[in-house]
Protein backbone atom coordinates (compact mmCIF):
# COMPACT_ATOMS: atom_id res chain seq x y z
CA UNK A 1 0.00 0.00 0.00
CA UNK A 2 2.80 2.34 0.96
CA UNK A 3 4.53 1.62 -2.35
CA UNK A 4 1.44 2.66 -4.31
CA UNK A 5 1.38 5.95 -2.41
CA UNK A 6 5.03 6.53 -3.24
CA UNK A 7 4.42 5.82 -6.93
CA UNK A 8 1.49 8.26 -6.92
CA UNK A 9 3.65 10.86 -5.15
CA UNK A 10 6.38 10.39 -7.77
CA UNK A 11 3.98 10.74 -10.70
CA UNK A 12 2.38 13.85 -9.17
CA UNK A 13 5.68 15.43 -8.07
CA UNK A 14 6.81 16.00 -11.65
CA UNK A 15 3.97 18.15 -12.90
CA UNK A 16 3.31 19.89 -9.58
CA UNK A 17 6.79 20.62 -8.19
CA UNK A 18 8.51 20.80 -11.60
CA UNK A 19 5.87 23.19 -12.97
CA UNK A 20 5.89 25.43 -9.91
CA UNK A 21 9.70 25.56 -9.80
CA UNK A 22 9.72 26.49 -13.47
CA UNK A 23 7.11 29.22 -12.86
CA UNK A 24 9.03 30.64 -9.90
CA UNK A 25 12.20 30.51 -11.98
CA UNK A 26 10.59 32.66 -14.69
CA UNK A 27 9.33 35.23 -12.18
CA UNK A 28 12.69 35.53 -10.39
CA UNK A 29 14.56 35.74 -13.71
CA UNK A 30 12.21 38.53 -14.84
CA UNK A 31 12.71 40.43 -11.55
CA UNK A 32 16.50 40.13 -11.95
CA UNK A 33 16.08 41.74 -15.39
CA UNK A 34 13.89 44.59 -14.00
CA UNK A 35 10.71 43.09 -15.43
CA UNK A 36 7.53 41.89 -13.71
CA UNK A 37 7.40 38.43 -15.23
CA UNK A 38 4.56 36.00 -15.93
CA UNK A 39 2.18 34.53 -13.32
CA UNK A 40 3.40 31.60 -11.19
CA UNK A 41 1.15 29.17 -13.08
CA UNK A 42 2.40 30.25 -16.51
CA UNK A 43 4.14 26.91 -17.28
CA UNK A 44 0.81 25.12 -16.70
CA UNK A 45 -0.99 27.50 -19.07
CA UNK A 46 1.72 26.95 -21.69
CA UNK A 47 1.50 23.16 -21.47
CA UNK A 48 -2.32 23.13 -21.45
CA UNK A 49 -2.38 25.37 -24.51
CA UNK A 50 0.14 23.15 -26.32
CA UNK A 51 -1.93 20.06 -25.50
CA UNK A 52 -4.94 21.75 -27.11
CA UNK A 53 -3.14 22.54 -30.36
CA UNK A 54 -3.22 20.65 -33.60
CA UNK A 55 -0.84 17.65 -33.60
CA UNK A 56 1.74 18.08 -36.34
CA UNK A 57 4.59 15.58 -36.49
CA UNK A 58 7.48 15.20 -38.87
CA UNK A 59 7.22 11.41 -38.69
CA UNK A 60 5.94 8.73 -36.31
CA UNK A 61 9.35 8.19 -34.71
CA UNK A 62 9.37 11.74 -33.44
CA UNK A 63 6.06 11.15 -31.65
CA UNK A 64 7.33 7.81 -30.30
CA UNK A 65 10.52 9.48 -29.00
CA UNK A 66 8.53 12.19 -27.22
CA UNK A 67 6.44 9.53 -25.42
CA UNK A 68 9.55 7.43 -24.63
CA UNK A 69 11.36 10.46 -23.18
CA UNK A 70 8.36 11.23 -20.95
CA UNK A 71 8.06 7.58 -19.87
CA UNK A 72 11.76 7.33 -18.93
CA UNK A 73 11.70 10.61 -17.01
CA UNK A 74 8.57 9.63 -15.08
CA UNK A 75 10.10 6.22 -14.34
CA UNK A 76 13.31 7.80 -13.00
CA UNK A 77 11.38 9.99 -10.56
CA UNK A 78 9.05 7.16 -9.51
CA UNK A 79 12.04 4.87 -8.87
CA UNK A 80 13.61 7.63 -6.81
CA UNK A 81 10.46 7.96 -4.70
CA UNK A 82 10.45 4.16 -4.27
CA UNK A 83 14.00 4.65 -2.87
CA UNK A 84 15.47 2.30 -5.41
CA UNK A 85 19.01 1.89 -6.74
CA UNK A 86 20.79 5.10 -7.77
CA UNK A 87 22.58 3.48 -10.72
CA UNK A 88 19.30 2.10 -12.10
CA UNK A 89 17.71 5.55 -11.84
CA UNK A 90 20.73 7.15 -13.49
CA UNK A 91 20.55 4.83 -16.50
CA UNK A 92 16.78 5.29 -16.80
CA UNK A 93 17.11 9.06 -17.10
CA UNK A 94 20.03 8.63 -19.54
CA UNK A 95 17.80 6.54 -21.83
CA UNK A 96 15.17 9.29 -21.69
CA UNK A 97 17.71 11.97 -22.61
CA UNK A 98 18.80 9.92 -25.63
CA UNK A 99 15.22 9.46 -26.84
CA UNK A 100 14.79 13.24 -26.83
CA UNK A 101 17.87 13.55 -29.05
CA UNK A 102 16.65 10.66 -31.24
CA UNK A 103 13.35 12.45 -31.83
CA UNK A 104 15.15 15.61 -32.93
CA UNK A 105 17.43 13.62 -35.24
CA UNK A 106 14.47 12.08 -37.11
CA UNK A 107 13.77 15.49 -38.65
CA UNK A 108 15.83 16.80 -41.54
CA UNK A 109 15.72 20.40 -40.33
CA UNK A 110 19.27 21.72 -39.90
CA UNK A 111 18.27 23.59 -36.72
CA UNK A 112 16.95 20.41 -35.19
CA UNK A 113 20.00 18.42 -36.32
CA UNK A 114 22.59 20.84 -34.93
CA UNK A 115 20.56 21.18 -31.73
CA UNK A 116 20.53 17.39 -31.38
CA UNK A 117 24.27 17.14 -31.93
CA UNK A 118 24.90 19.82 -29.33
CA UNK A 119 22.58 18.02 -26.91
CA UNK A 120 24.62 14.83 -27.42
CA UNK A 121 27.76 16.79 -26.47
CA UNK A 122 25.96 18.11 -23.38
CA UNK A 123 25.00 14.57 -22.41
CA UNK A 124 28.62 13.51 -22.98
CA UNK A 125 29.69 16.33 -20.67
CA UNK A 126 27.40 15.74 -17.69
CA UNK A 127 26.92 11.96 -17.62
CA UNK A 128 30.47 11.12 -16.32
CA UNK A 129 30.04 13.80 -13.65
CA UNK A 130 26.76 12.24 -12.46
CA UNK A 131 28.48 8.84 -12.33
CA UNK A 132 31.26 10.32 -10.16
CA UNK A 133 28.68 11.86 -7.83
CA UNK A 134 26.99 8.48 -7.46
CA UNK A 135 30.35 6.75 -6.88
CA UNK A 136 31.18 9.35 -4.21
CA UNK A 137 27.88 8.67 -2.47
CA UNK A 138 28.65 4.93 -2.60
CA UNK A 139 32.14 5.33 -1.15
CA UNK A 140 30.70 7.27 1.78
CA UNK A 141 27.56 5.24 2.53
CA UNK A 142 28.65 1.85 1.05
CA UNK A 143 25.33 1.55 -0.79
CA UNK A 144 23.67 2.60 -4.03
CA UNK A 145 20.24 2.22 -2.42
CA UNK A 146 18.48 5.49 -1.62
CA UNK A 147 16.91 3.76 1.40
CA UNK A 148 20.37 3.36 2.96
CA UNK A 149 21.49 6.85 1.96
CA UNK A 150 18.52 8.31 3.85
CA UNK A 151 19.51 6.27 6.93
CA UNK A 152 23.07 7.64 6.91
CA UNK A 153 23.48 9.60 10.18
CA UNK A 154 25.30 12.69 8.92
CA UNK A 155 24.73 14.99 5.90
CA UNK A 156 26.72 13.91 2.84
CA UNK A 157 27.50 17.53 1.98
CA UNK A 158 30.09 17.67 4.78
CA UNK A 159 32.04 14.77 3.26
CA UNK A 160 31.31 15.43 -0.42
CA UNK A 161 31.46 19.23 -0.83
CA UNK A 162 33.39 19.14 -4.11
CA UNK A 163 31.09 16.51 -5.56
CA UNK A 164 28.16 18.81 -4.78
CA UNK A 165 29.83 21.49 -6.90
CA UNK A 166 30.28 18.87 -9.63
CA UNK A 167 26.57 18.06 -9.37
CA UNK A 168 26.00 21.81 -9.76
CA UNK A 169 27.69 21.70 -13.18
CA UNK A 170 25.48 18.79 -14.25
CA UNK A 171 22.43 20.61 -12.88
CA UNK A 172 23.22 23.77 -14.85
CA UNK A 173 23.57 21.78 -18.08
CA UNK A 174 20.44 19.72 -17.44
CA UNK A 175 18.32 22.76 -16.53
CA UNK A 176 19.42 24.37 -19.83
CA UNK A 177 20.87 27.41 -18.08
CA UNK A 178 23.58 29.75 -19.39
CA UNK A 179 26.51 29.30 -20.04
CA UNK A 180 25.53 25.75 -21.05
CA UNK A 181 22.23 26.38 -22.89
CA UNK A 182 23.71 25.35 -26.23
CA UNK A 183 21.14 22.95 -27.64
CA UNK A 184 17.98 24.82 -26.73
CA UNK A 185 16.91 27.34 -24.14
CA UNK A 186 13.84 28.98 -22.76
CA UNK A 187 14.69 32.59 -23.54
CA UNK A 188 13.37 34.11 -26.78
CA UNK A 189 15.34 33.16 -29.89
CA UNK A 190 18.78 31.82 -30.18
CA UNK A 191 20.93 31.23 -33.23
CA UNK A 192 19.33 27.82 -33.77
CA UNK A 193 15.73 29.09 -33.52
CA UNK A 194 14.78 26.58 -30.81
CA UNK A 195 17.57 24.07 -31.48
CA UNK A 196 16.71 20.62 -30.25
CA UNK A 197 13.00 21.45 -29.84
CA UNK A 198 12.49 23.16 -33.22
CA UNK A 199 10.49 20.35 -34.77
CA UNK A 200 8.57 19.24 -31.69
CA UNK A 201 5.30 21.15 -31.75
CA UNK A 202 1.87 21.25 -30.17
CA UNK A 203 1.04 18.28 -27.88
CA UNK A 204 4.47 16.70 -28.39
CA UNK A 205 6.24 19.85 -27.24
CA UNK A 206 3.96 19.70 -24.19
CA UNK A 207 5.08 16.10 -23.51
CA UNK A 208 8.73 17.16 -23.78
CA UNK A 209 8.07 20.07 -21.42
CA UNK A 210 6.39 17.81 -18.84
CA UNK A 211 9.29 15.34 -19.13
CA UNK A 212 11.66 18.24 -18.50
CA UNK A 213 9.77 19.04 -15.28
CA UNK A 214 10.32 15.44 -14.19
CA UNK A 215 14.03 15.81 -14.99
CA UNK A 216 14.18 18.95 -12.84
CA UNK A 217 12.52 17.07 -9.97
CA UNK A 218 14.95 14.16 -10.39
CA UNK A 219 17.98 16.46 -10.21
CA UNK A 220 16.60 18.33 -7.22
CA UNK A 221 16.05 14.95 -5.52
CA UNK A 222 19.67 14.09 -6.24
CA UNK A 223 20.74 17.40 -4.63
CA UNK A 224 18.45 16.63 -1.69
CA UNK A 225 20.46 13.45 -0.95
CA UNK A 226 23.31 15.70 0.13
CA UNK A 227 21.32 16.81 3.19
CA UNK A 228 19.05 13.84 3.83
CA UNK A 229 19.22 13.99 7.63
CA UNK A 230 16.48 16.60 8.16
CA UNK A 231 13.82 18.29 6.05
CA UNK A 232 14.70 21.87 6.97
CA UNK A 233 18.34 21.49 5.95
CA UNK A 234 17.25 19.77 2.73
CA UNK A 235 14.81 22.57 1.84
CA UNK A 236 17.41 25.28 2.54
CA UNK A 237 20.02 23.46 0.44
CA UNK A 238 17.60 23.07 -2.51
CA UNK A 239 16.40 26.69 -2.43
CA UNK A 240 19.94 28.08 -2.19
CA UNK A 241 21.14 25.80 -5.01
CA UNK A 242 18.30 26.78 -7.33
CA UNK A 243 18.67 30.51 -6.61
CA UNK A 244 22.36 30.18 -7.39
CA UNK A 245 21.43 28.52 -10.70
CA UNK A 246 19.18 31.48 -11.61
CA UNK A 247 21.94 33.96 -10.75
CA UNK A 248 24.46 32.01 -12.86
CA UNK A 249 21.93 31.92 -15.71
CA UNK A 250 21.58 35.70 -15.62
CA UNK A 251 25.21 36.73 -15.21
CA UNK A 252 26.73 34.45 -17.85
CA UNK A 253 26.49 34.33 -21.63
CA UNK A 254 26.13 31.23 -23.82
CA UNK A 255 29.51 29.65 -24.59
CA UNK A 256 30.61 27.18 -27.25
CA UNK A 257 30.51 23.40 -26.85
CA UNK A 258 34.32 23.19 -27.03
CA UNK A 259 34.62 25.47 -24.03
CA UNK A 260 31.90 23.54 -22.21
CA UNK A 261 33.52 20.16 -22.77
CA UNK A 262 37.03 21.37 -21.86
CA UNK A 263 36.07 23.45 -18.86
CA UNK A 264 33.45 21.19 -17.30
CA UNK A 265 35.51 18.03 -17.74
CA UNK A 266 38.69 19.70 -16.44
CA UNK A 267 36.97 21.24 -13.42
CA UNK A 268 34.43 18.49 -12.82
CA UNK A 269 36.77 15.53 -13.11
CA UNK A 270 39.48 17.22 -11.02
CA UNK A 271 37.06 18.16 -8.26
CA UNK A 272 35.56 14.65 -8.33
CA UNK A 273 38.96 12.97 -8.09
CA UNK A 274 40.10 15.26 -5.26
CA UNK A 275 36.94 14.47 -3.32
CA UNK A 276 37.17 10.71 -4.02
CA UNK A 277 40.85 10.58 -2.97
CA UNK A 278 40.00 12.54 0.18
CA UNK A 279 37.19 10.07 0.99
CA UNK A 280 39.53 7.14 0.37
CA UNK A 281 42.32 8.62 2.50
CA UNK A 282 39.98 9.51 5.35
CA UNK A 283 38.79 5.93 5.71
Amino acid sequence: MNDYLLVAAGVLAGPVIGGLVSGADRIITARVQARVGPPLFQPFYDVAKLLGKEAVVVNVWQAFCAYAYLAASVLAVVLFFLQSDLLLIFFTQAVGALFLVGGALTSTSPFSQIGAHRELLQILTYEPLLVFVIIGIYLETHSFKIVDIFRWPEPLLLKLPFLFVVLGYALTIKLRKSPFDLSTCHHAHQELVKGLLTDYSGPFLALVEIAHWFDVVFLLCLCALFWATNWVGMAILLVVTYLLEIVIDNVTARMTWRWMLGYVWAMGLTLSLVNLIWLYAAR
Binding site: G37, P38, V193
Partner: protein, 150 residues
Protein backbone atom coordinates in the same frame (compact mmCIF):
# COMPACT_ATOMS: atom_id res chain seq x y z
CA UNK B 1 -13.05 20.98 -16.82
CA UNK B 2 -9.83 20.27 -18.68
CA UNK B 3 -11.32 21.72 -21.88
CA UNK B 4 -12.18 24.98 -20.16
CA UNK B 5 -8.65 25.12 -18.71
CA UNK B 6 -7.21 24.73 -22.22
CA UNK B 7 -9.55 27.49 -23.42
CA UNK B 8 -8.34 29.78 -20.64
CA UNK B 9 -4.72 28.80 -21.30
CA UNK B 10 -4.94 29.73 -24.98
CA UNK B 11 -5.64 33.30 -23.93
CA UNK B 12 -3.03 33.25 -21.17
CA UNK B 13 -0.16 31.85 -23.22
CA UNK B 14 0.03 33.33 -26.72
CA UNK B 15 3.38 32.76 -28.41
CA UNK B 16 4.22 35.27 -31.11
CA UNK B 17 5.98 34.82 -34.39
CA UNK B 18 7.15 38.11 -35.83
CA UNK B 19 7.74 38.20 -39.58
CA UNK B 20 9.26 41.24 -41.25
CA UNK B 21 7.77 41.14 -44.72
CA UNK B 22 9.90 43.93 -46.17
CA UNK B 23 9.18 46.64 -43.64
CA UNK B 24 11.30 49.80 -43.18
CA UNK B 25 12.10 48.52 -39.64
CA UNK B 26 9.96 51.22 -38.00
CA UNK B 27 7.23 48.76 -37.06
CA UNK B 28 9.78 46.03 -36.23
CA UNK B 29 11.45 48.25 -33.65
CA UNK B 30 8.05 48.96 -32.12
CA UNK B 31 7.27 45.21 -31.98
CA UNK B 32 10.58 44.52 -30.27
CA UNK B 33 9.97 47.44 -27.89
CA UNK B 34 7.04 45.43 -26.51
CA UNK B 35 9.52 42.82 -25.24
CA UNK B 36 11.70 45.26 -23.30
CA UNK B 37 11.28 45.92 -19.56
CA UNK B 38 9.19 49.04 -20.31
CA UNK B 39 6.26 47.09 -21.80
CA UNK B 40 7.31 43.57 -20.70
CA UNK B 41 4.73 41.47 -22.55
CA UNK B 42 5.96 38.34 -20.76
CA UNK B 43 3.67 39.57 -17.97
CA UNK B 44 0.81 38.23 -20.09
CA UNK B 45 2.62 34.96 -20.84
CA UNK B 46 3.57 36.21 -24.29
CA UNK B 47 6.83 34.83 -25.66
CA UNK B 48 8.47 35.88 -28.91
CA UNK B 49 9.34 32.61 -30.64
CA UNK B 50 11.39 32.28 -33.80
CA UNK B 51 9.70 29.07 -34.87
CA UNK B 52 6.37 29.01 -36.73
CA UNK B 53 5.70 25.49 -35.41
CA UNK B 54 5.53 26.85 -31.85
CA UNK B 55 3.61 30.05 -32.61
CA UNK B 56 -0.06 30.90 -31.99
CA UNK B 57 -0.10 34.48 -33.27
CA UNK B 58 1.71 35.76 -36.31
CA UNK B 59 2.65 39.43 -36.41
CA UNK B 60 3.42 40.66 -39.90
CA UNK B 61 4.97 44.05 -40.63
CA UNK B 62 5.70 45.62 -44.01
CA UNK B 63 4.47 45.30 -47.56
CA UNK B 64 4.22 41.98 -49.32
CA UNK B 65 6.15 41.71 -52.58
CA UNK B 66 6.41 39.03 -55.22
CA UNK B 67 9.61 37.68 -53.67
CA UNK B 68 8.44 37.11 -50.14
CA UNK B 69 4.76 36.25 -50.61
CA UNK B 70 5.71 32.55 -50.81
CA UNK B 71 7.74 32.81 -47.59
CA UNK B 72 4.79 34.44 -45.85
CA UNK B 73 2.37 31.74 -47.06
CA UNK B 74 4.85 29.01 -46.08
CA UNK B 75 5.26 30.37 -42.53
CA UNK B 76 1.47 30.57 -42.17
CA UNK B 77 1.10 26.98 -43.36
CA UNK B 78 3.66 25.75 -40.81
CA UNK B 79 1.78 27.15 -37.82
CA UNK B 80 -0.45 24.52 -36.17
CA UNK B 81 -4.14 25.40 -35.59
CA UNK B 82 -5.63 27.39 -33.94
CA UNK B 83 -3.74 30.43 -35.20
CA UNK B 84 -4.42 34.13 -35.80
CA UNK B 85 -2.66 36.75 -37.91
CA UNK B 86 -2.14 40.39 -36.94
CA UNK B 87 -1.06 42.80 -39.71
CA UNK B 88 0.85 45.79 -38.36
CA UNK B 89 1.43 49.25 -39.81
CA UNK B 90 0.20 51.05 -42.90
CA UNK B 91 2.33 48.86 -45.19
CA UNK B 92 1.07 45.61 -43.72
CA UNK B 93 -2.53 46.80 -44.03
CA UNK B 94 -2.56 48.00 -47.61
CA UNK B 95 0.96 48.36 -48.94
CA UNK B 96 1.19 51.91 -47.56
CA UNK B 97 3.15 54.42 -49.60
CA UNK B 98 4.61 51.57 -51.62
CA UNK B 99 1.24 50.21 -52.81
CA UNK B 100 1.72 51.44 -56.40
CA UNK B 101 5.28 50.13 -56.77
CA UNK B 102 5.73 47.55 -59.54
CA UNK B 103 7.06 44.85 -57.20
CA UNK B 104 4.47 45.22 -54.46
CA UNK B 105 1.53 42.82 -54.09
CA UNK B 106 -0.16 44.96 -51.43
CA UNK B 107 -1.30 44.26 -47.87
CA UNK B 108 -0.77 41.01 -45.98
CA UNK B 109 -4.40 40.01 -46.57
CA UNK B 110 -3.72 39.55 -50.27
CA UNK B 111 -1.76 36.38 -49.39
CA UNK B 112 -3.02 35.01 -46.07
CA UNK B 113 -6.21 35.65 -44.04
CA UNK B 114 -5.70 38.49 -41.55
CA UNK B 115 -7.71 38.63 -38.32
CA UNK B 116 -6.65 41.95 -36.78
CA UNK B 117 -5.39 45.13 -38.43
CA UNK B 118 -3.19 47.50 -36.38
CA UNK B 119 -2.78 50.83 -38.12
CA UNK B 120 -0.02 53.42 -37.70
CA UNK B 121 3.22 54.43 -39.35
CA UNK B 122 4.85 53.06 -37.31
CA UNK B 123 2.26 51.44 -35.03
CA UNK B 124 2.72 52.27 -31.33
CA UNK B 125 3.70 49.45 -28.94
CA UNK B 126 0.45 50.11 -27.04
CA UNK B 127 -1.54 49.65 -30.26
CA UNK B 128 0.34 46.42 -31.04
CA UNK B 129 -0.37 44.99 -27.57
CA UNK B 130 -4.01 46.06 -28.03
CA UNK B 131 -4.10 44.24 -31.38
CA UNK B 132 -2.67 41.08 -29.84
CA UNK B 133 -5.28 41.18 -27.06
CA UNK B 134 -8.01 41.57 -29.69
CA UNK B 135 -6.55 38.61 -31.58
CA UNK B 136 -6.76 36.49 -28.41
CA UNK B 137 -10.52 37.00 -28.44
CA UNK B 138 -10.70 35.41 -31.87
CA UNK B 139 -9.26 32.04 -30.78
CA UNK B 140 -12.71 30.85 -29.72
CA UNK B 141 -14.18 31.40 -33.20
CA UNK B 142 -11.14 29.75 -34.76
CA UNK B 143 -11.57 26.58 -32.72
CA UNK B 144 -15.29 26.49 -33.57
CA UNK B 145 -14.57 26.99 -37.27
CA UNK B 146 -12.00 24.19 -37.12
CA UNK B 147 -14.55 21.82 -35.60
CA UNK B 148 -17.25 22.54 -38.15
CA UNK B 149 -14.66 22.32 -40.91
CA UNK B 150 -15.23 25.74 -42.42
Amino acid sequence: MFKSFIKKSRIKSPWLLHFDCGSCNGCDIEVLACLTPVYDIERFGIINVGNPMHADIMLVTGTVNHRNKKVLANLYEQMPHPKVVVAIGACGLSGGVFRDAYNVVGGVDKVIPVDVYVSGCPAKPEAIIDGVVMALGKFEDKVKALRTGT
